[in-house]
Symmetry: C2
Subunit: 358 residues, 2 copies
């Protein structure tokens, strides 16, 4: 039997609840496909800060690096919001992404037919939306140097960051995006601000040059401000979007909200080699933590992405995705996606229903 | 009689058509309130490039600086899209903003009752949305240095930009935003990425410190990715938003599209002193240029902002705004906001209808 080591990083807030449920689903789907999954649980984010004083203990990064894939819940909470930068839960997440070298963040935003009413967009606009945002995850302004605080020539305090991309960083993320577009509907839209930023001009130049290697893919370019508009105006025009770290942060969240059900949306972050990082796109939701109210489906679907993109276990991934669809068809809903006429359930119960149909 | 000098910068694409119409409206509204307006027209953007080889001739900047207010149409077009940076129409616009020192860009995004159906958002979500985005316009990554192209330690090509804010740059835009919020519904949301960027950490610190001077304003903070989501989820939660140059570029365009009628939206850019710059938020729309199809209302409403914020001529401004409302109530619509049962008109005719009601 094929066997894999999975690092679980429950994190903060609702993270532990949703990861616990997703773990059971992952185990069962694996077992039914002859795949043995071994789990180890480690600390990250605020819970790591509280226990060890740092948001990403060496032990956690080492365990993650030594495993076949990593499933993360969520990080952060009010408690740590005013911490200094190196003591923020978010810093632990950024260190984890950098440490694993997972430069390609895949964020699907699809409107499920069962949940089309959850969108704030008109039905005819939301229906059928199926976007994949490919976000560069380990470069750009998140990691660029120099960065920090100082004073300018007038003696005035300043804060500064560097947006920087190299040709090879752009090429590798663009390649991933072209490949992703090829497995989807064959259209790739590269988003930048090349009318203003040099980093974006290089971005556009490299992406354009790579297009000759993918003659079957229809490439277009869009400025980021226009992309933010077009996602609202007509999201169906998009298939695959590729963009830098900060624009990807903003646009993938905007795209996810267009589905109206961010409690449903998974993500996968992968590198050249080594384990991938899989996590729901929602946050740690401290307000409802520990109340069995969280929607575990985004984490369960992240587990499916883990099987597909992280382990190459397509069959087990399909099992999970089919089970989620069936559970929704049976009418089960957590509070965030509830509508009259459906059955309101908690996090655990939702997990049990998915398990029944896996 | 009070008299003012206005610089008109028609620019490219539909710019000349909409500025011509707005000029007539401005003249008449002024005359009816005893205000004499003298106009001079200058080149900017692509048309300046074609005529003089640069996107902002000295003559244009000097004229603008020497006048009481500047009304701009739109700049840019396919023709100049692949120009080098210093020969892009956009560069002319950025030089104009910097040259005039107009650091505060006010971008209202309000859903008009007559046009609520134009929004792609559900009626109950769009109805009553009334947001003012206050965008910092002469700092941040648009102007930060160092910037450019180079090679890194691996000999790889790089493109880079600097996001930088000083305490005084933050303070002055925050002050404008607090004042704007005071004249509106008293709520200000500052948008940043202070969980990752040092420039944003300083931003949040300074905005927070200033709040004590405005005890009547309710200040909140939001991360930019969340703001991009919340604008889609529930835009009515926002009153006034203040943010940096690049986040403001993205979020103000997203907010404008939520209204569904970007052909209606004006903007005002003002500095400490000196003439303000007033322009519609839409682009140069080269596809429909010269066809008398453009919606002139955004430029007409920009002329109203010019009277109010640029010249302090509140009565003349109110006249124009009332005339636009009345013209819409009479059912006149350009193609971009047309719906069955209304009267389709062109750019010039729309201008005539507004003139009749001024
Ligand atoms: C928590 C934060 C650092 C993170 C990011 O900005 O990347 C989050 O918003 C995300 O998108 O995963
Ligand atoms: C044309 C471009 C340089 C400009 C900007 O990014 O500021 C435009 O998008 C705007 O928002 O006015």
């Amino acid at each position: 039997a094929r066997s894999y080591n999975i690092t679980l990083l429950p994190g903060d807030g609702i993270g532990p609840e949703v990861v616990a449920v997703a773990k059971d689903v992952l185990s069962l789907a694996g077992a039914l496909e002859g795949v043995e999954l071994r789990f180890q649980e480690k600390l990250v984010g605020g819970s790591a800060l509280d226990a060890t004083g740092v948001p990403l203990p060496d032990e956690t990064l080492d365990a993650a690096k030594g495993s076949d894939a990593v499933l993360l819940g969520a990080i952060g909470g009010y408690k740590w919001d005013n911490n200094e930068k190196h003591l923020k839960p978010e810093t632990g997440l950024l260190q984890l992404r950098a440490g694993l070298g997972v430069f390609a963040n895949l964020r699907p935003a699809a409107v499920l037919p069962q949940l089309v009413d959850a969108s704030t967009l008109k039905k005819e606009v939301a229906e059928g939306v199926d976007i994949m945002v490919v976000r560069e995850l380990t470069g750009g302004i998140y990691f660029g140097k120099p960065r920090g605080f100082g004073t300018n020539d007038n003696g005035d305090d300043i804060g500064f960051n560097t947006e920087v991309y190299s040709a090879s960083e752009i090429d590798r993320i663009a390649r991933v995006a072209f490949e992703v577009a090829r497995k989807r509907r064959g259209r790739l839209c590269s988003v930048d601000k090349a009318n203003v930023l040099e980093a974006s001009m290089l971005w556009r130049k490299r992406v354009t040059a790579l297009a000759s290697e993918f003659p079957d893919i229809e490439l277009s370019h869009m400025y980021v401000d226009n992309a933010a508009m077009q996602l609202v105006r007509n999201p169906k025009q998009f298939d695959t979007i590729v963009t830098n770290n900060i624009f990807g942060d903003i646009l993938s969240d905007e795209a996810s909200m267009i589905t109206g059900s961010i409690g449903m949306l998974p993500s996968a972050s992968v590198g050249e080699s080594g384990p991938g990082l899989f996590e729901p796109i929602h946050g740690s939701a401290p307000d409802i933590a520990g109340q069995d109210k969280a929607n575990p489906l985004a984490t369960i679907l992240s587990a499916a992405m883990l099987l597909r993109y992280g382990l190459g276990e397509e069959n087990a991934a399909n099992r999970i995705e089919a089970a989620v669809t069936e559970t929704l068809n049976h009418g089960f809903r957590t509070g965030d996606i509830y509508s009259p006429g459906t059955t309101l359930v908690g996090c655990k119960r939702m997990g049990e229903e998915v398990l029944k149909t896996v």
